[in-house]
Structures are given as C-alpha cells and as structure tokens.
C-alpha cells in the first residue's frame, strides 16, 4: 500500500468510528422522542380582593391554560362594593402541568428582581399602595391595597416586570415609566363597582 492509500484507509476508519458512536445516542433520542414541558409558563393570574370590613373575597382571573396560541384566554371579572378598601393578593400559576406550579412562589423567592405595576380605567377603582417589600425594603406587589369610590365599571391592568430598576425615579411608588426590565405579565380584567 502506498502512503496515501494507508492514510486514506486510516482516516476513513476513524471517521466511521466517530460517526457511529455519536449516532447511537441520537438514534436513541429519536426513537423515544421528548415532549419538552413548558416549565416557566405562566398560564393564570388570580387577584383576590378582600373587603377590609366584611372580609368578603372577590376573585378576578385571567387564564390561558394551553399557553400562547391554541385556545383563547378566559378572563373573569368581579363585582366590588363602593366606598371600600380592599387588600389584594396575587396568585400566579402554571396550570399546564399537573399538579399546577405556583409561580408566585418563584416571584416571592426572587422578590428583588420583580415588581408589579397596576392601572385602572373607569375611575371607580383605584390602586392605592404596595403592602409588601423585598429584602431591600422596595415594593413587590404580590400584596397591595385598593380603594373603590362610586358605582361604575372599567378595566384593571396588572403588569409584572422582571429585573426592573426599582430605585429609578417614581418606581417604588408604583410609576412604571422608568422601571425598565422586561414584561412577564400584562393582563387586563374588567371590574364593576355596584
């Protein structure tokens, strides 16, 4: 054999050895397939409005159990009493897996990297203040205080920002303008004040 044909033979052997051991792994994957679970999905936002005097609880919710696409989200508004103060707590879930993941626990665990912002239309419902704080003493928004005035209706908006700049001007008072970060949640839910 000449040098060149020896080289060629050797190298071809090396190639097939390399190719075949890699292939085993891939074939294995291919035969079984993997359904990749969406771990980080947020499917559900629930807001519990607790009346400061009667302790009655009204639930608002925004649910899209199959995530983006597929079926449209189901949005459920609620009815509130006029001239009242409400303590509001938020629950975030991933209901695409069983049992459902409580995403609000992840938010609480990384409180310094998250902040909720709120807005309303219609004038009968107003967000008033944060009722929780992270380790730096800056607000989170999983617990907040709201007030109602006269009868009317409108929408309430809940926004969750990941990695916002909480120390920027106005942010800790609930002004989203200078918050930055990226939006993890931005939902709108109708309300009625009777």
């Amino acid at each position: 054999m000449t040098i060149s044909s020896k080289l060629l033979t050797l190298s071809l052997l090396a190639v097939f050895a390399l190719a075949s051991c890699k292939k085993d792994k891939e074939d294995d994957d291919h035969d079984h397939g993997h359904n990749h679970n969406e771990e980080e999905l947020i499917t559900t936002v629930r807001a519990y409005f607790t009346h400061s005097v009667t302790n009655d609880v009204v639930e608002f919710s925004w649910r899209d159990i199959d995530g983006d696409g597929g079926n449209a989200p189901v949005i459920t508004g609620g009815e509130l009493q006029p001239g009242a103060t409400y303590a509001v707590s938020l629950l975030l879930l991933n209901e695409s897996v069983t049992p459902a993941d409580t995403i609000s626990n992840e938010v609480a665990a990384e409180a310094a990297a998250h902040q909720f912002f709120f807005a309303t239309t219609g004038g009968s419902l107003t967000w008033s203040s944060y009722a929780d704080a992270d380790s730096n003493g800056l607000p989170i928004g999983l617990a907040t205080v709201w007030t109602t005035t006269a009868a009317g209706s409108g929408n309430l908006t809940i926004i969750l920002r990941h990695e916002p700049n909480k120390s920027a001007a106005g942010v800790s008072a609930g002004d989203i303008t200078n918050a930055g970060g990226e939006t993890d949640i931005a939902v709108e839910i109708p309300y009625t004040v009777l």
Partner: protein, 770 residues
C-alpha cells in the same frame, strides 16, 4: 496584432518545449499553450511536450493553462525557433490541485466571483467573517447587535447564502438570524464570494450566492513555516491572537502537516454615547491537518473545532410589544452598566466541529476522481433571562450533526472540453437536548438528500469560454414534534429540485473581460419555516410556520465586467444582477394574539414571488505613482410581485470613497500603505407598509483611517497595522441591524495588528506586497 507588421518576413519559426509541475518536475499532460494574439495553440502530450509551428518573428503573449491551475501568461520574443519550458506553480495563489473542485473561482466562468483583498483581510482581522465579507461590493451584514453578524449577498442571507468551509457546506443552524457563522476567518487564506445563483456547483441554498473559505494548501516539502498574529482592540478592550505552524516530512516529498489555533477575548462594546452592556465575546478555535499529494494522487485529513461564547445586549431582551414600543420611543437602551468583561444571560455558546477526509486519484491523464467526506457537529445553547435560577439552564439546546459526502470525476472530453460530474449526499439530524423547560423553537428532524451534477467548460477560440451545467437533487425530511396535547406527530416532506447554469466569459482584450451568467438555484424550506411556533423574544412577535410551503426556486442573471483602462490607471469592476425567486418565503403579519404578556403581532411564514435586481461596482483610479482613489458602491431593489410592494429588510444603498497611499520602500520598512475612507449608507426608502415596528434609520456617514508597513525581522517578515474605524464616534443605526430598535451601533474603534510570518508565508506575503 503585434506581429502583424512583420508578416512579410519568414514565418516558419516554431515554439516548443514542455509544461511541468514546478514542485515534483512531473510533466503535465493536456496543458494548453496558446498565443493570445494569434488564437493559435497546442496541447501538451503525455510527456508534457508542446509545439506551435508557423510563427512569424515578434513578441507574443503566451498563455498556459492546465486543469486545476491558474493560467500563466508570459511574454515571448521570437527571433528564431525557440524552446521554452513552462513551470506551473503550486503556490497557494496559483494552484490548488486538490481543492479545485469546490473552490477555484476560475471554475466560475459566468458567475461573478470576487475574492476579499488580502489587505482588507489584514485590516479586518479581529472582526467577524461577515464584516470582512462586507468589503466586497454587493455584500452587506445582517447584524444582531455588535456581536452577531451574518453575510448578506445581494439582499439575501441565512439559508439563502451557502458557506463552503474547507470544501464542506457549513451546517451550523444558519437559519437563525442571530446565529453567526461558526468559523474563524483567521484560518482562511482566501475568501471568495460567488455572487450568483450557484446550486449547480454547490447544491441547495445557494440562491443569493456562496462564500468559499479556503486555507493554504498543505506544504509538500520539508521545512517549517509559520505565522503569528496579535491584535489589540480598543472598543471592547480586548484582542486576539493566532498561530500557525506547518511543515513537511524529510524524505517523503508530498507529505505535509499543519496546526493552527486562535482566540479572541472582548468585553462590552461601546456605542457613541453609552456602553452596550453584555455584548462581550470569546472565541477559541483550533485545527490540525495532515495530507499527502503528488501529481497523481492525494489524501488529507482535517479537523477543526470552533467555540464561541457571546453576550446579547441586555437591553434588547424584552417581554412585550409595550416594552418594544418603549425602547423605540426612548431612543436609548433602558439598561446600561459600566464596562465589563462579564457575559450574562441572554447569551449563546456554540461549539462547531468539522472533520474532513479527502482523497483524489488521477485515473488516467485525462480523468481525476476526488472524494470528499465531512462530518460536522454543531452544539448550540442559548440562555435566556429566566426565573428561579433557570438562567443557568439553556432555553434552547440544539445538537445538529451532518454528514456530507461527494465523489467527483474531473475529466476532459476531446481536446478542449473539460468539466466534472459528481454525486453528493447529505444526512443530517437535529436534536433538541431535553431539559430546557421550554417548548422547542424548532422540532427534531432528520434530513437526507442526494444529488447529481455535471458541469462542462468549453473554450471557443481564444477569447470565449462557455460553461453549462445541471443538477438534480432530492431531499427527504422527517420531522418529529409534539402538538399542544402532547401527541407525537411525525410528518414527512419530500422535495425534488433541479437547477441549471449557463455561463460565458469573453476576453474583450488583454485587460478587459466580460462574464455573463444565467443560473438557477433552489432551496427546500427549512424546518423553522415549516414548523416554527412561538414567541420570538427580541422581535416581540409570535412566529408561525406553514407546513405546506414548497421549495424556493430562483433564476438569476448576472453580467460582470472587469477592465483596466488607460494603461491600467483606471480599474473598474461592475456586476449587474437580476433575479426572480418563485416561492420566496418570508414572515408576514397575520393579526394579533392575546397572551399573558399582552397582545402580540403574529407573523406567519408566507411564500410570494420576488423580483430583485441591482448593481455593485468598484473603481480604482491611480492618481500618481503612490496615490489612488477608490470607490465602491452597491444598490439592491427587491419587489414582492404578488403584493406589488417592496420586500422587507433589504440592504440600503451604500457608497464608499477612499484615498489610498502606497509605497514599496522607505528605509527598513517596506510595503507601506495608508488609507482614508468615507462610507455613506443611505436611508432605506424602499420598504413595505406595515411590516416594521419603526421607520428605517436615517443616512449615516462613517470615516476610517488605516496604515500598515512591513519589514524583515530575523528570518521572517513583520507587518504592523493600525486602523481607526468610525473615526468621529458617530452615533448611528443600521437598517439591517435587528437591534436598531434598541441601540446605536458601535462607536470609534482602534485596532492594532501585528503579524510575524516566516518560511513560505513570509516569502509569499513579500511577493504579494511587491
């Protein structure tokens, strides 16, 4: 013509001799020896002998051409019958016997093929391959911030530009616009851009054109050669380096080896007014090759590994259309931090392996068989900003393995016609590595394709050369995906395609050449276009595939003129192109969808028919012995024919003017070069309505300065270069930068480069410079 006046004299002289291989002194059979002005010539026999009879006295240009060799032209003064031996060189510039199939631009008869200037390659050391290629008129860059760039040829990029690295089609998830080519431009000796539809030669995907990256051929004789490069970059506060060492083996002529390695380390880039936080990058690559070749046969093995880690601008990571709107309105990134070398999420890591085995054997003097096998593995992870410590878990984790093989028979038919016929095969498998916790952006798939091609060249007379070729290719695509209910689906797609190419090269005079090409190309849709499904974060859009899409088919005509006028004082090079792409696939808005992050626009992959055309031109005017003026420019016009509107995201018109200074000597320093350039990139006004989130950026002007010089140092050659880009720290945004919604592009950059070469590299570079 030169000999015409002497026709009264006796015309019975003869020119004879041999054509031999310079390195092993073997005779070269079937080399053509032509006298340009007479259209008279001969072909060498088995012993390499030629003889041209009936010549008058005079001075003639004699051109010698051999399959796989760059033609050699020599002036011969004939006063009697004369014997002249021609040696065809094996230098990198002249002859790549083994690599000739894929790579030699001269094989492109009709297609415009332009190599990146060596001085540009020197200057662009430290930039990615896309920025380097953008020095060729007609090539632009599709960027994703300062760290990611993809080459765009005549407005087309990604899956429509084929990159041929070491003769192997690069398969590195090139469908993604934020996936830069995984290869190191420092490993290349020559980079050529083929600006025509090139499917016949290279197979599917070469709709816009092809980029051919070639190393120097391996040495064949003993003696160590090498090259060391160092690079310092002001913007990004980093640099890089590379080293190359090669040699032969004493006593075995023809056996050679080479090892090469390089690295880059950069921190955050700086825009004119702020730091582009989290845009650092690191690259490590290395390769080794060994090979043997003589006149009749050759074999080589090559392995390279390329690793890149890069950060993606923090401020470009957004979660909703409101965030995008906010970024556009504020006019600057919402997140900036002091300069840092750290790379945090969002970030990418990519490792690309390439193994290539080649062999070639001359079956007869007129036929040569070449086989080429390549294995590539592309390992890509993309990390996103995620909750609960998941930022350390990749959100995208893909393994793409590709086998390619080809067998090509290069042959002669009769005296003049030569060409090649071959079969090519590809087997590819894409795997989503489990554990990301994210629904995959593209599904797992397996792809097999097989093709056959033929391409023939025929000289007609002395000035005209014709080329014709055809290819047929079939592709089978098996997809495995899970639907929303978690049910496994395994759709299959079959695509069959054919392409042809016709070309003509006409030598108008010794200093002017016209090339005319008419060629077709095809591209089966990529899995991403068939089955994408989900939110594209930095685009704030939902992208949906369409499983019913068919192949794109294009027809492209090119006319290329190269001429040296006024005794070589003015050199011009212009390419006019026009193409029609049937079934052109692009993303089109299709309503909005309400998600938990708010309402998002939905973009669906849609096919249309595209009509494109444009002009690339460059001209160099010698002002004096040392000064020259250079202009380069390009324009592309692209219409969506079905909707009668402009196509989205086409490069804006651009024009570059430069004053160049060059002198051969100056004391110890030689080949001193300096240049000042101005580049204007105009506002893109040819845009479709309603496809974009923001209007195109306005016209911008960039200025650059450069200087370099060489000297002998010890046994080698030292070259030092200094370059300043974006000299006036202009704040600008480019239409083809996907991050133009979020930030300005890079500000001033100063690059210092040093190269030390010895052995044949020093000789070669000095020769080039002289």
């Amino acid at each position: 013509m030169i000999a015409a006046w002497s026709s009264a004299q006796s015309c019975d002289f003869e020119l004879s001799g041999r054509v031999i291989d310079e390195h092993d002194m073997q005779p070269l059979a079937y080399a053509e020896v032509f006298i340009t002005s007479l259209g008279k010539g001969a072909v060498t026999n088995d012993q390499g002998h030629y003889r041209i009879e009936g010549l008058c006295p005079g001075t003639y240009q004699v051109r010698v051409h051999h399959l796989g060799c760059e033609p050699v032209t020599r002036e011969v003064r004939l006063t009697s019958s004369t014997t002249i031996d021609f040696k065809l060189e094996h230098h990198a510039e002249e002859l790549r016997e083994l690599e000739v199939i894929q790579a030699r631009p001269d094989e492109q008869v009709g297609q415009p093929a332009k190599s990146v200037d060596r001085e540009d390659m020197e200057r662009a050391a430290g930039t990615g391959i896309a920025d380097l290629l953008a020095r060729v008129p007609g090539v632009t860059v599709l960027a994703t911030g300062p760290s990611i760039g993809k080459p765009v040829i005549h407005g087309l990029s990604g899956n429509r530009v084929l990159i041929l690295n070491q003769g192997i089609r690069q398969e590195d998830q090139q469908w993604g616009s934020e996936h830069a080519p995984s290869l190191d431009p420092l490993s290349a000796d020559r980079i050529t851009v083929v600006k025509g539809a090139a499917s016949v030669q290279y197979g599917s995907d070469a709709i816009g054109g092809a980029v051919i990256v070639e190393p120097v051929e391996l040495p064949r004789t003993a003696g160590i050669s090498g090259e060391l490069r160092g690079l310092g970059q002001w913007n990004g506060r980093g640099g890089g380096g590379s080293g190359l060492l090669e040699g032969g083996v004493k006593g075995i002529t023809g056996l050679g080896w080479r090892v090469q390695g390089s690295g880059r380390y950069l921190g955050d880039s700086e825009a004119a007014r702020y730091t582009l936080s989290n845009t650092g990058q690191r690259e490590w690559s290395g390769s080794a090759s060994v090979g043997y070749r003589d006149h009749r046969r050759g074999a080589s093995v090559f392995y390279s590994r390329f690793t890149r880690e890069l950060g993606i601008l923090r401020a470009a990571h957004i979660g909703s259309t409101t965030d995008l709107q906010r970024a556009i309105e504020s006019g600057e990134p919402w997140y900036t931090a002091p300069f840092s070398y750290a790379i945090d999420a969002p970030r990418q890591t990519v490792t690309h392996h390439l193994l290539r085995v080649q062999g070639s054997i001359a079956l007869t003097d007129r036929n040569r068989l070449e086989v080429n096998y390549g294995y590539q593995a592309n390992d890509r992870q993309e990390y996103d900003i995620r909750r609960a410590g998941r930022s350390a878990t990749p959100a995208l984790d893909l393994w793409l393995a590709t086998h390619t093989a080809e067998a090509v028979l290069k042959h002669w038919i009769g005296e003049h016609v030569h060409g090649k016929v071959g079969v090519t095969a590809l087997a590819q498998e894409n795997t989503n590595i489990p554990g990301t916790g994210v629904r995959p952006l593209i599904p797992d798939f397996r792809k097999e394709s097989i093709g056959a091609f033929i391409i023939e060249h025929m000289p007609v007379g002395e000035r005209l050369e014709l080329e014709a070729g055809a290819r047929a290719e079939g592709t089978l695509l098996h997809v495995r995906r899970f639907d929303r209910e978690g049910q496994l689906q395994a759709p299959e797609h079959r695509f069959t395609n054919a392409a042809f190419a016709l070309g003509a090269s006409y030598q108008l005079s010794d200093s002017a050449r016209l090339r005319l090409g008419l060629a077709s190309a095809f591209r089966p849709p990529h899995v991403s276009e068939l089955y994408s499904e989900g939110l594209h974060h930095s685009a704030a859009a939902i992208e949906e595939g369409d499983a019913l899409l068919g192949s794109e088919r294009s027809l492209k005509a090119t006319l290329d003129a190269e001429a040296a006028l006024f005794g070589g004082r003015l050199r011009i090079d212009a390419t006019v192109h026009a193409s029609r792409i049937k079934g052109f696939i692009y993303l089109r808005p299709d309503g909005t969808r309400l998600t938990i992050r708010g309402a998002f626009p939905v973009f669906r992959y849609t096919a249309t028919d595209a009509l494109m055309g444009g002009l690339d031109a460059s001209a160099t005017l010698k002002l004096s012995k040392r000064f020259a003026w250079r202009m380069r420019g390009s324009t592309v016009h692209a219409r969506d024919q079905r909707r009668d509107e402009w196509l989205f995201l086409m490069p804006a018109d651009r024009l570059e003017n430069g004053l160049l200074f060059r002198t051969a000597s100056g004391g110890k320093w030689r080949a001193f070069e300096a240049g000042a350039t101005h580049q204007a990139v105009f506002e893109q006004r040819r845009i479709p309505e309603g496809l974009d989130f923001a209007p195109p950026p306005s016209t911008y002007h960039l200025f650059a300065l450069s200087a370099s010089a060489s000297r002998t140092l010890g046994k080698g050659e030292l070259r030092i270069g200094l370059q300043a880009n974006n000299l006036f720290n202009t704040a600008y945004r480019d239409y083809l930068d996907r991050f133009r919604y979020f930030t300005d592009a890079r500000g001033t950059d100063i690059v210092l480069s040093v190269r030390y070469a010895f052995g044949r590299f020093a000789e070669k570079r000095l020769h080039d410079a002289g």
